[in-house]
Symmetry: D2
Subunit: 426 residues, 4 copies
């Protein structure tokens, strides 16, 4: 922790600003669950996913444990039995409820969890003026952590509702606007030679984005937009899912074992292909970016297209001057979904819409070291078997992203808003 | 179905009586779920168990499908999508929601299921005077079916709450009365020679209880009561769970694989052994019958005690003149639990309290034939790998039991209120 | 053991006779492995099967342990490390090599195992005149045990070779004789009322066949022969494997999970159906009894045919006066296979050819008790989840069978020579 | 293939040299199996491993298929059924025997496989003068391929014998020489800045080592030798296997799931720690490099030691001027084992002894492309979830290694001769 705190090289935000951001972000979480029943918020549809109620409680537990319990003398836990329930994976924090059993917690109720949130929020806001600067960093970490869980809450909810034969909608659909398919792919050369990669510590970043370091890039080009549903349909029609030569060996095993033949959430409806969304089943928009694909699928598509996935360094170098707050990102509760991207000068839609799989294994940067203590478990211990994704999605809260941001998932996972942008060596 | 109906040899109950029983039994189901939240009623804690909401809807589906849809012309389904959700295992009724996924149905809500019940109940009671006699038999079957699910609802709920580290209580505990341990086991000889086994068709019975037939019994004795918790503690203390020679081979594999060392729901509390109940964690009552044991455990205990399990025929012959409506059975919603049995002349506590494992595999009676049609799937297709249990439990609705009643579970299952009574050959 | 020995009510065979039978039976085992390479005799094709080498060593271990070690003072083990390798499942004999790892024992070699056999045989024959009477019973048990493993050696070898794409033959095929299909099924009534079941202790029998006891039989008829391959083809053509209504629930799950669509070892060859045999792939003989079917398949076939499986008591009562040494049984090493049965008065082919599945769960007879000590583990501990088979097969050594003989396998197993004979209630 | 052939920029070896190398390498394979029985060479101890007989046949199939069948007109296959058996994973070559079933092939026999080798060798040597230059490249590829299988044959055999409770020795132990523990670890700075990585095409290399490319290295140091058994014992004594904070999350799950507490092949003998070797169980040599550890263990050890694993680029840059033919490598059949390394100037023991885990995921180099055709499946399709190892082992045939050589295994695998060398950032 101390090590982490030291890495905050900028002055802390003033208390007032922090309090305002705290209220805004905490409020968004609650609004995401507003249309849910207690049952909706309780059920876990697969071990990868967590119940909405659990998300709401876990991110509160983070503040209660690492800020209030550790730094506010005299603070009493809301309920001494709850830390066991809502610790996610911090070994240093002791035993915890097994992850695949999160969906068995019909108690506490959603309302009790809301009361927990109110209690912790009040205590934290009350204490805020008296807390040390390093607590400011912890609160900042907690808010970014909460934003991550906002995205997970949405993707986990989508998965849950997709398992229900009734196909419920979390929100009514926005009115459909006719969408136009984008122009054919264009290519843009990226920066080459020695580039700087990683966060330069001018603002908040997670430990895995540091330290900033040099990396050598050979000449390459990136596609000016992500792959669309229409293009993915061409891949299917051309035998993409039945040609072993296109696939990594593990990917091909996965395709055969799981009977994969399309992105997650696709089905053949009576009047054409449909995709499940947070507004229920909807006609597939051919102009929108393909999403809910695995790394294996992205990699096979790229081989089919005579291209490859970008490395994380290529992507980051090319995105360094793009605005990370632009694009289709999460502003408020609703049925978020990728949308067609308007052409623009250079690389369109780098941020928002869909996470872009890279070909880079999620491994430590040169000079990276895992911090001591529980917070040190945040990222480093997951650096095995995963791939880096860049750019964020329609479900990422606006304000959360950076060019150096490294998201990471296992190569067969599909329930996040994942897509791809092609690259090629020059 | 026709074949089944023909087996009802007695005249149908008058409509008024049937309506009254219908209302009573349907009402008890609702009252069992009265203290549950929507979330409590939604979650599935293991594939063997079903959510309370699912139970409430499934037993309603049974009436809607086999009575209203099939016999009431012009009846419109409450919701055409729901049969897919609430068919349990009837292949003849078409595709259905996968059993292990029942817990993902956060929608429909518990209140919507209550509305479904009200709709079907009103339609059925309205139509009752006009329905044929064979419908009377179907309604009777539906009511006994509903009673089975009442017991399952309670045992499934108990299992769910036992998985919650908070140990919630479905109902407050009844005031504890000091209990007295029973006298040492006594033995009573059972009827020998040719006996009649099975239901003689003087009232309702399930297909698997028929036809009545002769069976030859060699001399034997039954214990005058079931085994108690105190006695089970002696078994544990004497190495019962660590002596392979006491166990069936499959049982010993199960003990090692699952790390079994006590009945389900036991734990060591600070002031002694505790057991989980529908009123939360409670001190273990040494005088009460042991419960939540598997067939494997019952069989090993019997071998340890120098005895054996009774056969289903021995049990039934010995119980023929006992009152199946007596004993600790389910009368109303509440934290049902086995209670110490007062000594009585002969065999005490045959009905109610705990289901008694027999040594008999659940197989068809001589002359048994599976009926045609969906209702024919009721029992016969499960006659593999299971053992017969007799006598009912504290969670069996009073009025549901008979001496010929055959319950059946796999030998490793423990979440029902299962216990044992010793037997020996003479 | 003592208890077992006491049950031998007849006088022991004279030493000379026993020595002769010992030499004959031990010799047959060796001859069964004569055409095998060391590798053939080493490999294990599935956990259910054991390598030929292991069989040869295990049955030798039985004599070495329970006769020589226990009753011949001064006997030294051939190799002190081998009992760990060749104990099958006797918990009382201590730790043992895991069953699924039997196929990893490339050492000792087949020749070393032959030397082990020679060593033990010489020691036993030398000591025979000095051994006590109860040892005579143990040797008798050991010989019957060895005969069981002779059958397993053949069926395990057949399975192993069937897994080899080269389809090797253990022996050359016998010259084919044109076979004639039998007449349509006829039916014969069996004995009814109180019958005696089980072994009456006039000769050798396994513990599970005892004690003899009374059983009541209601009127029934048995088919006069077993079901043929031709008839099985009709079952397939009529949708037998695709009609859930014909199957037990567990059976239907098994069919779907394993993709079952025909008996084991069937394939479609270029000129029609073929079956794998100990002489390699051969054209299917429509006149021969169907074999390598599971209980689930037998039960489904019987339902399809409007019949049922016999109970073990019905079969035994009907077979009481048949000659158990007649029929197609194992006399010498070679490619044994079921053959068409010539019509005869009454029930044809009760013994030999194929084991006949009964509808009876393998459970203890009234009055059965597991003996103390290691030999007590022989049968009793397996009495869960299995079904009884009667009558023996073409791979059962002649001299091994009795009407009271109870073989037993799990309902999905197919690698034994299993078939079925229909029954019906009258 | 064409693409591959073009990458051979040097002139082909003269036929005579190639014939000589062919005979030498092919001969070594045979000598490795010389002491094996047919059974030893047939059994497969786990899905990762293959039988010795299969290795011998598979590497022959490679020559028969890609050289003789494809380039020698009129060549007739030794046996048309064998390609199905001995294709490893080439999808483009059609269906093949399932990998986990390789151990079921008791036929063909080891001698038949030797005859296959003789047949193919004679045909190839006979045709050699007439084959095209690109065939020279294919033969070269086949020889390097065969060397890889020589190492696998030894490690697979070691695993098989380790599973046998008798602990057989493949060869007698070499006479033990007293070993001296090395001096404490020293550190040497590696080359920094822009370095060249990958094979420069001056000789044979696998596709995954290409193309040569620039890589930027920040300052770092490497340990001057690999970690020893003594040091590993300190790690164990200090709670290395029971401290979750030292482990990657997947590694910690693996430790708990598999009960890992020491390197593979260690046991506690009566007079201290022992390790299984190709000469059977031997006392552990504290001075020798630790081996048979997983990536997870290597990574945890490095964290415990306050260090980290080197990247593959750091290792390669530091090894560029070391002699890849030096060190403890495979020269002839025998019980190869890592030996203590004598101190030397700089980095000792880079080549031979134990493969050194790096922290680099096995992913394509910049500009890498999978070649078309079956040979294109050689490496690229495995680039998921694996880590790069460098430097070779005591079981790697001398002549096979290069600084650019990339070996790769999954992070939990331990049956190769794997060890580690520490690194740290400066």
């Amino acid at each position: 922790m101390g090590g982490q705190a030291e890495t905050v090289s900028t002055a802390p935000e003033r208390t007032g600003d922090l309090a305002r951001r705290f209220a805004e972000i905490r409020g968004l979480s609650l609004s995401l669950a507003e249309t849910l029943t207690d049952a909706d918020a309780t059920v876990q549809s697969m071990p990868d996913a967590s119940p909405a109620k659990w998300h709401l409680a876990h991110i509160t537990w983070f503040f209660e444990t690492f800020v209030l319990r550790d730094h506010l003398s005299g603070y009493r836990l809301f309920d001494a039995d709850w830390p066991f329930l809502f610790n996610s994976y911090y070994e240093a924090e002791g035993a915890r409820h097994a992850r695949p059993q999160r969906g068995l917690l019909s108690r506490p109720t959603l309302d009790e969890v809301r009361a927990y949130r109110a209690h912790v929020d009040a205590a934290l806001l009350d204490a805020l003026p008296r807390l040390s600067e390093s607590c400011g960093w912890l609160i900042e970490l907690g808010l970014h952590h909460e934003q991550q869980h906002q995205e997970l809450l949405l993707t986990d909810l989508k998965h849950l509702f997709s398992c229900n034969p009734l196909g419920p909608a979390a929100w009514p659909a926005a009115s459909a606007t006719p969408s136009t398919e984008p122009a054919p792919l264009g290519w843009h050369d990226g920066p080459v030679g020695l580039v700087e990669i990683g966060d330069d510590e001018s603002g908040f970043a997670f430990d895995c984005e540091r330290p900033v370091h040099r990396h050598y890039l050979a000449p390459y080009a990136l596609a000016d937009r992500t792959v669309t549903n229409r293009e993915w349909c061409d891949f299917i029609a051309d035998g993409g899912y039945t040609s072993p030569g296109l696939w990594l060996d593990d990917g091909w095993s996965w395709v055969k074992r799981e009977g994969i033949a399309a992105p997650l959430y696709w089905r053949d409806g009576e009047s054409g292909r449909e995709a499940f969304t947070l507004a229920g089943w909807r006609a597939l928009d051919p102009a929108a970016p393909v999403t809910h694909i695995s790394f294996f699928e992205a990699d096979a598509y790229a081989r089919w297209a005579g291209a490859r996935l970008p490395t994380e360094q290529e992507w980051e170098a090319a995105a360094r001057h793009a605005d990370p707050h632009a694009g289709n990102q999460l502003d408020r509760a609703g049925p978020v979904s990728p949308v067609p991207v308007a052409a623009e000068e250079g690389l369109a839609g780098l941020f928002g819409n869909v996470w872009e799989w890279t070909g880079s294994a999620y491994r430590p940067y040169p000079g990276f070291a895992i911090a001591d203590g529980a917070v040190g478990e945040y990222n480093g211990k997951f650096m095995n078997g995963l791939y880096v994704l860049k750019g964020g999605s329609c479900a990422t809260p606006r304000g959360h992203l950076r060019a150096s941001y490294r998201n990471f998932f296992a190569p067969e996972k599909r329930w996040q808003f994942t897509g791809l942008r092609l690259a090629r060596s020059l």
